[in-house]
């Protein structure tokens, strides 16, 4: 898919994110907006997904013969919900139920409510990379050559389990795994270098045996090129880690450059100001 087409989808996804968070006055818009370009690239371009004869995606829990994505930083749920709905996994109108009672769109993603496209619960941080490794190893055992992708936050790197997984994947040559870290430099209590300095994440993962790539996560073209490069690096004995520089709140000028919008919903005026900056390309839900 052309970069321009992906940018159009991303604009609509960003509108969905803002409207969903506004609709329930709750949720995490900042990181969702920052990672939009990556998820649009993965689901609308890079990933090979199971589909029926008419080309509509079909959800299968085991992900056999298709690429699998895991969202480890589950708080950016509005993003994954919008992308899954726009890709055709479940009805778009269901986005209106986000974080509301009796909804399949829980505050943090879960397969518990049988939402198509979600394979694991995430929200309690630091667990997704391990799950992704497990599925990557299952694919190897099944002689399935497709890829497993995983997205984590940079604040999430504080969690110890992440480093257990970081040590394991190169040791076991899990080279069908492409992980991303959303390096937006922000976490709830402030800038990551003030709260808990990750220092050089690239050097750290490199020392554990990962292949490291860098990209601008808010430049659709760079994202497309880098994800393709990551796929090409697979199968050579090492897992791939892509450090993705992003701006929390990307796409909405007054939400960028601060951790303030990590977990705050816009009010009516702020929503209207934000939507004015994002073209409605596919029709609002």
């Amino acid at each position: 898919m052309q970069t321009q087409e992906l940018e159009k989808i991303a604009s609509q996804v960003r509108r969905d994110i803002l409207r969903m968070v506004h609709g329930c006055q709750s949720g995490h818009p900042g990181g969702s907006l920052g990672c939009t370009d990556l998820l649009v690239e993965l689901y609308f371009n890079a990933m090979n997904l199971q589909s029926d004869s008419s080309g509509n995606v079909v959800f299968q829990m085991n992900g056999a013969g298709e690429d699998v994505f895991y969202l480890s930083n589950g708080h950016i749920s509005p993003l994954i919900y919008s992308v899954l709905a726009r890709r055709g996994y479940f009805p778009i109108h269901e986005l209106a139920s986000f974080r509301k009672i009796n909804s399949r769109l829980q505050g943090h993603p879960t397969p518990h409510e049988h939402l198509e496209g979600i394979r694991i619960a995430s929200g309690s941080l630091g667990q997704g990379l391990s799950v992704a490794i497990g599925t990557a190893q299952a694919k190897k055992l099944s002689k399935d050559s497709s890829f497993v992708f995983c997205l984590m936050g940079d604040g999430e790197q504080n969690e110890g389990q992440v480093w257990e997984a970081a040590m394991y994947a190169p040791h076991h040559q899990v080279d069908n795994l492409i992980a991303f870290i959303d390096v937006n430099g922000q976490q709830i209590d402030g800038p990551t270098d003030k709260v808990m300095n990750n220092r050089d994440l690239g050097e750290k993962y490199k020392a554990f045996g990962w292949e490291i790539l860098h990209m601008n996560g808010n430049d659709a073209q760079d994202v497309q090129i880098t994800v393709a490069k990551a796929k090409a690096l697979c199968g050579k004995g090492s897992p791939i880690m892509v450090l993705m520089q992003t701006e929390m709140g990307a796409g909405v000028d007054f939400m960028m450059g601060s951790h303030k919008w990590h977990g705050v919903a816009p009010n009516d005026q702020q929503l209207s100001d934000a939507l004015a900056q994002l073209t409605e390309t596919l029709g609002d839900y």
Binding site: S122, S130, G134
Partner: protein, 317 residues
């Protein structure tokens, strides 16, 4: 003459190893993970038969739980193995989110549960694991009593779709249940017939319950002895049937009273058939170093304690 006898004593963890050996040959979907304790978990035969289906995680239990969930999504039946302390309490949130809430077909199989771990002391002697695991919605909790039953349970849980906690231990205990038995999850086993007191025991305490019943018999008291190998789902029908006959209860387990088998039975009976009840278990304390038998004696987890509590329960009728 005693109703139950035994020729050998074996550790229940070896029963697990034998079950895994069977699964290595008979179920290609079963995979095993271990956090640097292959010998303790008796996984050598599984690894020898199917090295490609074994994953060494190193001393990193949280990661092991997550990888297990990922393997389960990919269609495999993972057995995540380590000591009970590290496989439950240490990784509670990982089990809660990635396995229980996510509904993954993972078997958490743990050895060295309870006081009978012995000399390593309280850091390793978890007495809270049954409670932790049974509180998780959808989690099946199994604590078999001897080698043969542990082997059968291991084979049975591989065919059950859903999360399971399988708990076993280190010491050698009498092998008194049948070889090659069929294990039915959630189905209590009636061991001895009696109408004076119900003794509901699990794990290593089942043999002690049989010994206690023999002692009580000499006093003219007939105990109804039931092996509750599955703590969740609890066989409430078997419990009610026994209690309607006996009118009083003793529960026996190598676990804290808080959150254990006795708690589950009491909760059920309080709603359906309030009954005088006494408990054999650990009274809100940690364990300590010592020989397994010394510890079981000191903490009152043996036949003598069961007899004492049975007499007390009968007196309260």
């Amino acid at each position: 003459m005693a109703q139950y006898t035994f020729d050998t004593k074996k550790d229940t963890r070896s029963g697990f190893g034998a079950g895994m050996e069977y699964l290595s040959l008979n179920n290609p979907k079963v995979v095993a993970l271990c956090a640097d304790l292959i010998g303790s978990l008796k996984l050598e035969a599984f690894i020898k038969n199917s090295p490609e289906r074994f994953f060494q995680t190193g001393i990193a239990e949280a990661n092991m739980i997550g990888i297990s969930a990922g393997l389960a999504i990919g269609g495999f039946i993972p057995f995540a193995t380590t000591f009970a302390n590290f496989g439950t309490g240490r990784v509670y949130d990982q089990i809660r989110q990635s396995i229980a809430y996510s509904g993954k077909n993972v078997k958490i199989a743990c050895s060295h549960a309870g006081l009978t771990l012995g000399e390593d002391g309280a850091t390793h002697q978890i007495l809270e694991d049954l409670g932790l695991m049974k509180m998780l919605p959808g989690m099946v909790v199994i604590n078999p009593c001897d080698y043969n039953q542990t082997k059968a349970a291991t084979i049975a849980v591989a065919s059950y779709e859903g999360p399971v906690y399988l708990r076993f231990g280190r010491p050698v205990v009498p092998v008194f249940t049948p070889e090659n038995q069929t294990f039915e999850i959630g189905k209590a086993i009636h061991l001895m017939e009696g109408s004076d007191v119900s003794i509901f025991a699990t794990g290593h305490l089942v043999w002690e319950a049989i010994l206690a019943a023999e002692i009580l018999k000499e006093k003219g008291i007939h105990a109804d002895v039931i092996n509750i190998h599955t703590i969740k789902p609890l066989d409430t029908q078997a419990i009610l049937k026994s209690v309607l006959k006996t009118g009083c209860v003793v529960s026996a387990e190598e676990h804290q009273l808080n959150g254990g088998l006795g708690d589950s039975i009491a909760q059920y009976l309080s709603l359906h058939k309030p009954t005088p009840m006494e408990y054999v278990g650990v009274m809100d304390s940690f364990g300590e170093s010592g020989k397994p038998a010394e510890l079981m004696e000191k903490y009152g987890l043996n036949a003598a304690s069961i007899v004492e509590k049975a007499l007390k329960a009968i007196a309260r009728k």
